[in-house]
Point group: C2
Chain length 346, copies 2
C-alpha cells in the first residue's frame, strides 16, 4: 500500500521517472496519450502525486509562506483586523497556489532551537504586528527568508507595508481638538497588565508596542494642550476594552473622550457606556482605529485603513515577481460617525 513513488509508477508504465514527473508538472512535454496512461496507472497504484517534501527540496520552493503572529494565536484572531489582513494575504496566496503557514510565537521556546520558526518550510514570511527586534525576526533573517513586515521599519532596506501611524492618529487628534476635547483616556493593550482586576494605568514609556507608541505620539502632536492618560485592560480585545473603560467610567475623574487604539477596544468601551446608560457622542466621545466591519453598524468614529489591501500588498511583494515595490505606505482616512461629539462644558 505505502511506498508508492514516482519510480514505482514509472516502472509500472515502463517509462522513466522523469517522464512521470513531467506528466504532473509539464503536460506539454509529453504526448497526451502517454500522459493519460501514466495518470491512469498512478490512480490504480494509489499514487497521489509527487511528494511535497521531495519536491520542495529539489525545486527549492516550499510552496508556503509563513505568517508570524503576535503572542498567542488565540488573541491574534480575536481582532477582526487580523482576520481582514489574513483574508487579503490568503487571496494572493491562493492565486499563486501557495499555502499559509501560521507560526505561533510562544514567547518561551523562541530561544531554544526547536521552535516552529526554525523548522518551518517556507519561502517567505509575513511579519504581522510583531516588533522588528523580536528574536523570531532575527531567526528568519538568519535563515535568509525574505520578509515583509506590517510595521513601518526604520531600516530603509527592509520590506514593509504600513500606514503612517503618527499621521493617522493626528487626524483623529485634530478631530477631537476641534470638538473641544482637552481630557482624554487612551486604551492600549498590554498583556502584562493583570493587576487591579486586570486594569492598569501606564506611562508612555511603559507601553512597549511601537504601533501604540506612534499612535499616542500622533494624538499628542494634534492635541498639545490636552491631558492624556493611558489605560490598559489587558489584551487587545473587546473584553479588555470593556474592562478598561469600566475602570475609567467608574472613577471620580472621567475624561471627555476615550480613544481605543483598536476598534475592538473602542467597541468594548461603547458597551461599557451603554450598560451605564451613557450615550456615545453625547455624554462621552469614543473613537477607535482600523475601521473594522463592526465599526460602522456601531456608529464608531475611527481611522480607516485598508486592511485587506494591506494583506494583498504583503502577498504581492512576497509572491508576485511583477511587483517591485519594497515599501508601501497605505492611505488612512478619518471616518466620523455618531460616537464622537463636542466635549461637554465643564
Amino acid at each position: 500500500m505505502a511506498g508508492v513513488t514516482l519510480k514505482t509508477v514509472a516502472q509500472a508504465v515502463g517509462v522513466s521517472p522523469s517522464t512521470v514527473s513531467n506528466a504532473y508538472n509539464k503536460p506539454d512535454q509529453l504526448s497526451t496519450a502517454l500522459r493519460e496512461r501514466i495518470l491512469a496507472t498512478a490512480q490504480e497504484l494509489g499514487y497521489a502525486g509527487p511528494d511535497a517534501s521531495a519536491r520542495a527540496l529539489r525545486s527549492g520552493k516550499a510552496g508556503a509562506i509563513g505568517v508570524l503572529f503576535t503572542d498567542k494565536l488565540s488573541y491574534a484572531f480575536s481582532d477582526p483586523y487580523a482576520v481582514g489582513f489574513l483574508a487579503g494575504l490568503a487571496e494572493v496566496a491562493e492565486e499563486f497556489s501557495t499555502s499559509l503557514l501560521l507560526m505561533p510565537l510562544s514567547s518561551a521556546d523562541i530561544v531554544g532551537g526547536s521552535n516552529a520558526v526554525q523548522q518551518a518550510a517556507i519561502d517567505a514570511a509575513a511579519i504581522f504586528c510583531v516588533p522588528g527586534d523580536h528574536p523570531a525576526v532575527d531567526i528568519l533573517s538568519a535563515r535568509g527568508i525574505p520578509t515583509v513586515s506590517t510595521d513601518r521599519g526604520d531600516h530603509p532596506d527592509l520590506c514593509w507595508v504600513a500606514i503612517d501611524e503618527v499621521e493617522a492618529a493626528a487626524k483623529l487628534g485634530q478631530h477631537l481638538t476641534r470638538l473641544g476635547h482637552r481630557d482624554i483616556v487612551v486604551l492600549v493593550d498590554k498583556a502584562e497588565a493583570q493587576a487591579r482586576d486586570g486594569v492598569v494605568e501606564l506611562n508612555f514609556d511603559e507601553v512597549g508596542c511601537s504601533d501604540c507608541e506612534s499612535r499616542i505620539q500622533g494624538l499628542e502632536k494634534a492635541m498639545p494642550d490636552a491631558r492624556m492618560r493611558i489605560v490598559s485592560g489587558g489584551y487587545n480585545s473587546f473584553g479588555s476594552g470593556l474592562k478598561g473603560a469600566e475602570y475609567v467610567l467608574d472613577s471620580q475623574d472621567r475624561p471627555t473622550a476615550i480613544v481605543g487604539l483598536s476598534d475592538v477596544q473602542a467597541l468594548g468601551a461603547m458597551e461599557a457606556m451603554k450598560v451605564r446608560g451613557l450615550i456615545p457622542g453625547r455624554d462621552l466621545t469614543v473613537a477607535g482605529f482600523d475601521d473594522i466591519p463592526a465599526a460602522e453598524p456601531a456608529g464608531l468614529t475611527t481611522v480607516h485603513q485598508p486592511i485587506k489591501d494591506k494583506g494583498r500588498a504583503v502577498g504581492r511583494i512576497l509572491l508576485d515577481p511583477a511587483t517591485t515595490d519594497r515599501q508601501v505606505l497605505m492611505p488612512t482616512e478619518l471616518v466620523v460617525r455618531a460616537s464622537s461629539g463636542p466635549a461637554p462644558r465643564r
Copy 2:
C-alpha cells in the same frame, strides 16, 4: 553567502556531516566542547540550521498539520467559532512545535491538480466544517494523510471530534416548545443565496450543509407541532443574519421566534430587532448556536459547545501519540439568557 549547508559547516570544523546534524538534533550524542565549536562555526558561516525541506524529506515528518476550511478563508474567520477552534488547535500544535498550514478551499481549482491540498507538505490534517464528501477530503485520503473531522461522520473508522448536533438542537427546541413557540424561522447560511437583496427562503432539501440539516432535524424533533420556515441571508456572518432577520421582521407574517444556526447570525437578528425598537425575549425570541464569547454580553440564548476543547481534542488526536481516541463526542448545554421568552398570545 548562499549555499551554506551541513556539509560546508562539517568541512570547516573538520568533522563529518552526521556529527553536525547530531549537534542540532541529538546533543547527547557528542561532547559538549565539540558541539559548541560546531554551533559557533555555523554562526560564523551564517548557517541557520538544517534545511526544513531536506529534513522533512529524510525524516518523513513535515512539522506541520493542515487545516482545511470551508469556502473562502475570509468568511471562515468571520465567525469567532472558527477562531476558538483554531486557538485550541494551535495550543496543541505549539506544544509539539508544529505549525498550522491553512488550506483555503477555492471551490474552483480543486479539480485541477495544482491546488494547495495536493501540494501541501503536512503530516496530518484537521477538516473543519467541510462535508465528508468534499473532493478535497478524498485527495487527503488518497495521499494517505491522517485526518480528523469536526463533522460527525457515519464511517465508524474515520476520526472525528464532534457534538451530537441533533440532540443539541433538540435541547433548544424543547426550550422553545415549553415557552409556547409554534411558529419559528431558522436562519441558515447559504452562499448561493443572493437573490432578493441576498435573502431567500429555502426548503429543507435545499440547505445542503449536513450540520445545518442535523440542527433543523433536531428542532423539528422537539417541535413537532411548530411551523418552521428556513431563511438565508447569505454567508455565515453578522451581516447576513441581520439581512435575513430584516426580511422576516418586515414581512406581514412574523414568527414568534428566530433561531440562528450560528450565534453570529443570531446576533445579527438581535441587531435587526434593536433597530426596529423590538426587545429580544419580550417581543420576539432569538436564539443561536455555539455560545461564542459575544453571546453572553448580548444576552443571547444559545446552545453551548466547548469550542476550544474541540480544537484541542483534534490536535491531540493528530499529534499526541499518547492519545488513542479516534472519535470524541463533546457535550453540549442549553444556555438560557434574556433573548428568549414566552411566545406572546395571538
